[in-house]
């Protein structure tokens, strides 16, 4: 593809794109005029039907809870896929064992010898002091999903940050010690399984999958909205487990492999 053809191709594409774009904009409703009936209906009925003051969470974990199960499974599968893809490979660990050309490796190590400086006292104190409040805040976001913005997903990600802070204050060894691999995987699996279990409860009593069958409680209290609160906790567990796992494999890929190449000599 020569430059002239490329330029013409670009110009034609731009003109075509803006034509279609303007055509699409023309028929849009004016700014602030919402034409979907479902949103208005839900805004009116959700608080009475589900006793949840955050309609977004009521929609996510009740009216379309099955979609959320799908989304959670997507996260689960992508974490598994990433772990599989980033696992330490034989080639990376045995880089300098029995190879004829060791001097190249030595030259490489000269540039890799510099390590990140140890965390300063101020950083250690600040990050470690944040660990407790973040755990409380994460659980607050998870358990108050039906009342205020937030929910299992956002809270779950916040719950995954304390180990990351511990890593920032210390090193990967400490991170590994407080996040035992089998526990992280168990928590992640328990979250997904709990979600499905709550859904199956609806089938057992003769209703639909993910039917909201628990007592709804008083609107505005923490224990309200029936199964929405339970599903939020399950999602929080699954997401926090998944993200800790992600953080672990990413840190391992960037730090551990390199250290092993260094330490292998």
């Amino acid at each position: 593809m020569n430059p002239r053809f490329r330029r013409y191709f670009f110009l034609i594409s731009v003109v075509a794109f803006f034509g279609v774009f303007a055509w699409g904009l023309h028929d849009l409703p004016p700014f602030g005029h919402y034409r979907g009936p479902y949103g208005d209906i839900l805004n009116h009925v959700a608080v009475y039907e589900r006793h949840a003051t955050d309609v977004v969470t009521a929609v996510n974990f009740d009216y379309r809870g099955f979609d959320t199960l799908g989304e959670e499974s997507i996260l689960f599968m992508s974490v598994i896929g990433t772990s599989l893809l980033l696992r330490p490979q034989k080639k990376e660990t045995d880089n300098n064992d029995g190879k004829a050309d060791n001097s190249l490796q030595r030259d490489l190590d000269e540039s890799e010898r510099r390590r990140a400086p140890a965390a300063s006292d101020a950083a250690r104190v600040l990050t470690l002091a944040l660990v407790g409040p973040l755990i409380v805040f994460g659980w607050y976001i998870v358990t108050h999903g039906q009342l205020t913005p937030g929910g299992g997903f956002q809270g779950g990600v916040i719950l995954a940050t304390p180990p990351l802070l511990v890593y920032l204050a210390g090193d990967l060894k400490t991170f590994k010690r407080i996040t035992r691999q089998e526990w992280v995987e168990a928590i992640e699996g328990a979250g997904i399984f709990g979600f499905v279990l709550v859904g199956l409860l609806g089938l057992f009593v003769g209703g639909a999958f993910l039917q909201n069958l628990l007592p709804l409680g008083q609107t505005g209290s923490v224990i309200s909205a029936g199964t929405v609160a339970l599903l939020n906790i399950a999602t929080g567990l699954a997401v926090s487990g998944g993200f800790v796992q992600l953080i672990y494999v990413f840190l391992e890929q960037t730090l551990e492999v390199k250290l092993r190449v260094q330490g292998g000599k």
């Binding site: 977004v56 490489l108 956002q154």
Partner: protein, 95 residues
Amino acid sequence: MQLLQMLILCFVAIFGTAVVLTRDPRSQVIGLSFFGLVLACMFFIFQAPDVGLSQVVIGAVALPLMFMLTMARVRRNTEEHEARKRHEKKGKEAA
């Protein structure tokens, strides 16, 4: 449209363009974090605090991980390249 909404949309457009136009990866990461912050404010101003919260947590936890991995990989490639060059130079001097 309110003034605040117009203002925040302009900010999103400016920061988004700035991120795309930045070439140095390290400056780009910092620019992108500002862009994420502006984006979260935009969601909040347009009355979607749930989405804003999601944007904040993803921007604070997931995005830096991607950058860390990418930049480590880029740096390792550069270092390997430099080491190979040093190595070849040494070989020539020995010969």
